[in-house]
Symmetry: C2
Subunit: 335 residues, 2 copies
């Protein structure tokens, strides 16, 4: 084959926001799949806040991406060559294919997706990791009861949008926190959130007090920082906080801001629990089935923010940290 | 009666450490108990870190002590006059009698204690609220398994000493954090802790890494601040943190230091849960029975730091915040 594979490789460990010079744009000849392997043409790459953490040195819930390695990323692609009995040319697949145009795989961690069930990018959103994260974080850790108040930050992001909608389906009062009037309007008017708080203009602590007169029973945190503190200041007795992420802190050049109001956990006999979606891998089918049902019934909407152009990866990734994405951020690599 | 009752009343909300001028020392004639009431001569007053929180304005797990009110405190006393059918002259009782020499009571929240079972001050320690706090915090929230590693801060304090000993009885590896060589020696040599870390001289984070090679499974936190962060940096997968107190932060004149390392909860799928012992009131007998059995069997030791002299209350209370108490701090009011 004379096709060339382009890749973004990690060139340096970023300080603060990742710059273009933290990446190397490389090209190499397309490899042929050997026995038991197949070749995937990558179509859509998932851009996630967690990627920022993978770029740092040091112990986390997965090993860091090595300097010189293709950047780790989940992606959707199409099999274009195969010597693997389980994957045929034309199959659509999800896997950790990385930030590159083509990927060789032996099938580990790869799942087939059905483009008749939903548009392919939805498998990176509500039917993908963000959906799984929302489902298990909310229901397994948050354990909301119908009628209770659920608050979610990063509510117009991939995880937050699903959290809010499935909490509504579950019969909860749902308050979203997002940045900007348009996002807040969308959450309340289109997705049925009971209220949306604009952290760019509102006093979040005061707004939460107004919107959650009985306190917050479940707080799903994607952002950390001052918003986590505002939520802590408004907990109900026995509240559950899910620590899913802390996007406000990922590009800090100063230490992480710890939640000053954490003693509210004591006052309210509340808990704060971290979650990593991969722990629920053997239960993904349960969540995917529920999510697909709600999507088909029109009770759950998936929204993707699709940016075209593989070469834009370094800049497109930054949309996450500027809060510019509206729904699940996806990099479209090919038609 | 011509006896006079002396009292310490809250005169002002302290800024930082409570000063003598934050108290009024008052005297009033001793009241006669009416029908259904009894009069207690206070013998031992419990001095607790939580008292500092009760002096602040604002919502907490109990209402603040009002300005001009007798300071709230648990205490042990002897009934000296009674028109209550359930309490007779000579009975020894525990109750929220406050920082005063005599207290009128109608029996609400009052329990008889048996001086033949243990010396009276022990009912303010291992057989009192500190013991109950240790028991329910450790077993109900921490849920340690035999063989797991339990770390406790404030380990030479009233709660911490019990936590460490009952975790040892339960078959755990126990590491205590305390201030000073003498306390650390006592924990390891006398109480059987596997290790004791002196936060005044050791690098706590590094020492925890050495003493907990498989990470911390249960961390019982009484202190907050940098020590909480050091523990967070050394968690095992699925660790449980009990937030019982934060004595390092109670006298802050700057905002509480939130735990910068809280994202370790995410990395390790760990939880941090607040507890208030009063929630377990209906299960105190269960804990008291276990504790009394261990005391009788010589498996559990109670240690009290008894200071004589009612008038020393303002200064004696400060021993807690200077880390000067060694075991349960008790103010002896009368012989």
């Amino acid at each position: 084959m004379s096709i060339v594979n382009h890749q973004f490789r990690l060139a340096a460990r970023p300080v603060g926001l990742p710059k273009r010079s933290d990446w190397t744009f490389t090209e190499e000849p397309l490899p042929e799949p050997g026995d038991g392997a197949f070749l995937v043409k990558v179509l859509f790459i998932s851009l996630d806040p967690a990627m920022r953490g993978w770029m740092n040195e040091g112990r986390s819930y997965v090993a860091p991406v090595g300097i010189g390695d293709v950047m780790r990323a989940g992606a959707i692609g199409r099999v274009i060559a195969s010597k693997h009995p389980g994957f045929a040319i034309g199959d659509h697949v999800y896997g950790g294919f990385g930030v590159q145009e083509y990927a060789l795989s032996k099938g580990e961690g790869v799942a087939k997706v059905d483009p008749n069930l939903a548009p392919l990018p939805v498998f990176l959103g509500a039917l993908g990791m963000p959906g799984m994260t929302a489902y298990f974080g909310l229901f397994d850790i948050g354990k909301p009861q119908p009628g209770q108040t659920v608050v979610v930050s990063g509510a117009a992001g991939a995880v937050g949008m699903v959290v809010g909608q499935i909490a509504k389906i579950h019969g909860c009062r749902v308050v979203g926190i997002a940045g900007g009037a348009e996002k807040c309007r969308y959450l309340a008017a289109e997705l049925g959130f009971d209220a949306a708080i604009d952290y760019k203009t509102d006093d979040v602590r005061k707004a939460l007090r107004q919107q959650c007169p009985n306190g917050i029973d479940v707080y799903f945190d994607n952002v950390g920082g001052d918003i986590l503190d505002a939520a802590l200041a408004n907990l109900a007795r026995h509240a559950r906080i899910i620590i899913c992420g802390a996007i406000s802190q990922y590009n800090n050049t100063t230490p992480v801001k710890g939640p000053s109001n954490y003693l509210s956990l004591l006052v309210n006999r509340a808990s704060m629990t971290g979650m990593v979606v991969f722990d629920y891998a053997d239960r993904y089918p349960e969540a995917a089935k529920a999510m697909a049902g709600w999507l088909a019934a029109g009770k759950l909407r998936s929204r993707e923010d699709i940016v075209k152009g593989f070469e834009t990866f370094p800049e497109t990734l930054l949309k996450l940290f500027a809060g510019e994405n509206f729904g699940k951020l996806v990099l479209q690599v090919a038609e």
